[in-house]
């Protein structure tokens, strides 16, 4: 242990700790912009500078290791003055349009400007004057706002293994740019949106569709129907001043009605349906010598990734559409018939923890209903904005239930929101279908948790099925490279593009650490425990849709509406 004194407080920390870590231990807050609790040290922004006795220059707390007898001052007038100048310099080329910014009041730079009482900036404002990049339907970039912290580059390259973002030039001319300095749409970006969580400012954000929604709500002839994904509920409270997981589902349903949605349904219904289709697809592949391992296909960021980097493995992907797209296809066919509503009048809105879902909804093949199956996709953050825009007071909201035919769900659907959930839900159903016996314990705990790669085995009437789960695309790469090399021992692989699964999706409330992701995961399993039914095949509305409409998993209707095919992306700049 190393002994040191920070702001007069004696402490000891393990050898190799930084000043920042030592300060955190004794409850001293040091501001950071480029440092991130789950990322490497970069010491780019300089805002964490501190005085170290015996050192002429100020040292960056994020990178400076402690030494025996070190005396650090983190809040001396000299330090505060230096931090203010650093902030003024950053602000001197940062557009000052905070009021119009997607990150207004949720911006780390704005927060620091407030904390450090920046009033008049002696440095003349000089912004880059570059155009914003709206080349994808999911994610935009505003290079003018970039503070060059490089957190997005690190996330894209190391955590996600995508490498769509990188640096250009050096020194004063340095910029963060997509591959070859082109638009994001030309880069191999998979639209997972993890860079949005990494960005301390408003340089990257989701493309918003709130205006389109409001237009649809305003039109009396349009019937606005929404589906809401399982990972949204556990996180949406964070947007409206509640704790993670605290938002009751029935209050959220009521709030959506107050916003103006004509019908409120649940993506969980088609999550259960996905299990029916995907579970049977797995069994079919296992029994008929089909291509294995089979990969899950719920995560559109993962699909983009596979189409970009592993086009040779597209046949391993389950042909099942994601729950969002299954829902979209059924809404304008099955549900419209049930409700006696003209499908043409339906405006299908999905609320998702995901940015890649925005892209997925616009895929040209996603029109099995004869219309665009999902018209717009809103992120959890956009839902937060809507709730605030409509001044929803959750203390006063009277609870409400989901509308019929596509609103029932089981605990198996809920856990789709966490990494390993699709696998666990599938195993719950596949086990009972194969063995014709009741599963005594529905909890497959090996599949749970934040760990990047998990594996499990399940005995199905003497056949041992080996499964693996990866979250975060750099982890997916490890499993994919194994498959490509012909060395994969698995039968079934679940991949979620985002760390922690959908609860950590690119559309979730800005998530500054993995601790928050773990909290959301815990809440997903609490909700599962509270569900009366926890196996997809026991969902009464699922039984009904097979009786009345689909007839059987993998049947003709299913193939028409619920299954899809994939295309190699042929991206040049990978």
């Amino acid at each position: 242990m190393i002994n040191l004194i920070i702001d007069g407080i004696k402490t000891s920390v393990p050898d190799g700790s930084t000043i920042l870590q030592a300060a955190q231990k004794v409850g001293i807050h040091i501001p950071t912009l480029c440092a991130h609790p789950d990322r490497n040290v970069k010491s780019n922004c300089r805002i964490c500078v501190c005085e170290v006795e015996g050192s002429k220059l100020l040292q960056t707390a994020c990178s400076q290791p402690v030494f025996e007898g070190m005396v650090v001052k983190t809040r001396s007038p000299k330090v505060i003055e230096a931090r203010r100048i650093i902030l003024e310099l950053i602000l001197s080329n940062h557009p000052q349009d905070c009021l119009n910014c997607i990150r207004n009041v949720n911006c780390e730079l704005q927060h620091l400007a407030k904390e450090y009482c920046i009033r008049e900036n002696p440095f003349k404002l000089k912004t880059k004057g570059l155009p914003k990049d709206y080349s994808t339907p999911a994610i935009f970039r505003d290079p003018n706002k970039c503070v060059l912290c490089r957190r997005c580059v690190e996330t894209c390259t190391i955590i996600q293994g995508v490498g769509a973002l990188g640096l250009e030039n050096r020194g004063y001319h340095t910029m963060i740019v997509p591959s070859m300095g082109k638009n994001l749409g030309d880069s191999p970006c998979v639209m997972c949106g993890q860079c949005i969580h990494a960005c301390p400012v408003g340089a990257i954000g989701e493309v918003e569709y709130i205006d389109e929604l409001m237009e649809a709500i305003a039109d009396p002839d349009t019937i606005v129907v929404t589906q809401i994904a399982p990972a949204v509920r556990v996180a949406i409270g964070e947007e409206v001043g509640m704790k993670t997981g605290e938002m009751p589902m029935n209050k959220l349903v009521a709030a959506l009605r107050q916003i103006g949605f004509d019908y409120v349904l649940h993506t969980n219904f088609t999550a259960d349906l996905t299990i029916m289709e995907e579970g049977h697809e797995l069994l079919q592949r296992l029994t008929t010598g089909g291509i294995l391992p089979m990969f899950t296909s719920c995560s559109p960021g993962w699909i983009n990734f596979c189409e970009t980097y592993y086009p040779d493995l597209l046949d391993n992907l389950s042909t099942c559409k994601s729950p969002q797209q299954m829902f979209g296809a059924l809404l304008k066919t099955y549900w419209a018939d049930k409700m006696n509503i003209d499908a043409k009048k339906i405006f299908s809105v999905s609320i998702m923890p995901c940015t890649a879902k925005k892209y997925e909804a616009f895929r040209p093949e996603m029109n099995a209903s004869g219309y665009q199956d999902v018209d717009i996709v809103l992120t959890t953050r956009e839902l937060g904005r809507l709730l605030r825009l409509c001044e929803i007071d959750f203390d006063k909201v009277e609870p409400s239930e989901f509308d019929p035919w596509m609103g029932d769900y089981t605990g198996a659907a809920v856990i789709f929101g966490a990494s390993g959930g699709v696998m666990e839900a599938a195993l719950r159903t596949v086990y009972e279908v194969v063995t014709q016996e009741e599963l005594k314990d529905v909890n497959f705990t090996e599949t749970r948790g934040f760990q990047g790669i998990k594996e499990a085995e399940v005995d199905l009437n003497g056949t041992v099925v080996k499964v693996a789960i990866a979250n975060g695309l750099s982890n997916a790469r490890k499993l994919m490279d194994q498959v490509r090399a012909g060395e994969s021992p698995y039968h079934f692989i679940e991949i979620m593009a985002c760390p922690g699964g959908c609860i950590g999706g690119g559309g979730q409330p800005i998530t500054r650490s993995n601790i928050k992701r773990e909290e959301r995961i815990a809440n997903i399993y609490i909700e599962d425990e509270q569900c009366a039914i926890r196996k997809s095949h026991e969902n009464p509305e699922i039984k009904m849709i097979y009786e009345e409409f689909l007839h059987e998993p993998l049947g003709h209707k299913s193939h028409e509406l619920l299954h899809t095919h994939y295309h190699a992306k042929n991206k040049r700049l990978i």
Binding site: T157, V162, G163, L165, G166, L167, N169, M180, L573, I574
Partner: protein, 147 residues
């Protein structure tokens, strides 16, 4: 030689990407986009990372440029010794400005930081070869070597 062959030759050398790019520039005078994409495959890094390297170092150009790259030192000793007049003479002789290439593809005119030949300023380099004590009058003769 194609990009791939050049890149492959440096594949297993530490820092080989930079060496390979120098070799490609010796032939093509710049780094075409296809060479950058190929380098990403050969060195197994994302295109974005290769692009970072190519734009970080001022000796690399990702835009087509003249075959003979003339670089004039813009550091203080050369400046004091009259680099501005040398620049003017070069621009006049070649009919281009700093940052441009001649239409016949023979010359590119760029600036550089100090090349370490301050004993005899101003200094220019052509394809890496330094010329010391350059004056507007000697510019014509130096250029003649490359015409």
């Amino acid at each position: 030689m194609g990009y791939k062959q050049i890149l492959d030759a440096y594949k297993n050398i530490p820092g080989g990407m930079i060496e390979a790019f120098n070799a490609i520039q010796d032939i093509y005078s710049y780094l075409p986009e296809e060479a950058i994409i190929e380098a990403a495959k050969v060195f197994n890094v994302p295109v974005s990372k290769v692009y970072d390297v190519t734009t970080f170092y001022s000796m690399f150009s990702i835009k087509p440029r003249g075959k003979n790259v003339i670089r004039i030192c813009q550091s203080a000793p050369c400046h004091v010794a009259g680099a501005a007049e040398v620049v003017a003479a070069l621009e006049r002789e070649l009919g281009i400005r700093i940052g441009e290439s001649t239409s016949d593809g023979k010359f590119a005119l760029e600036t550089t930081e100090c090349v370490g030949q301050c004993q005899d300023t101003p200094v220019i380099t052509i394809n890496g070869k330094p010329y010391m004590g350059v004056t507007p009058a000697t510019v014509v003769d130096i250029l003649a070597e490359y015409k």
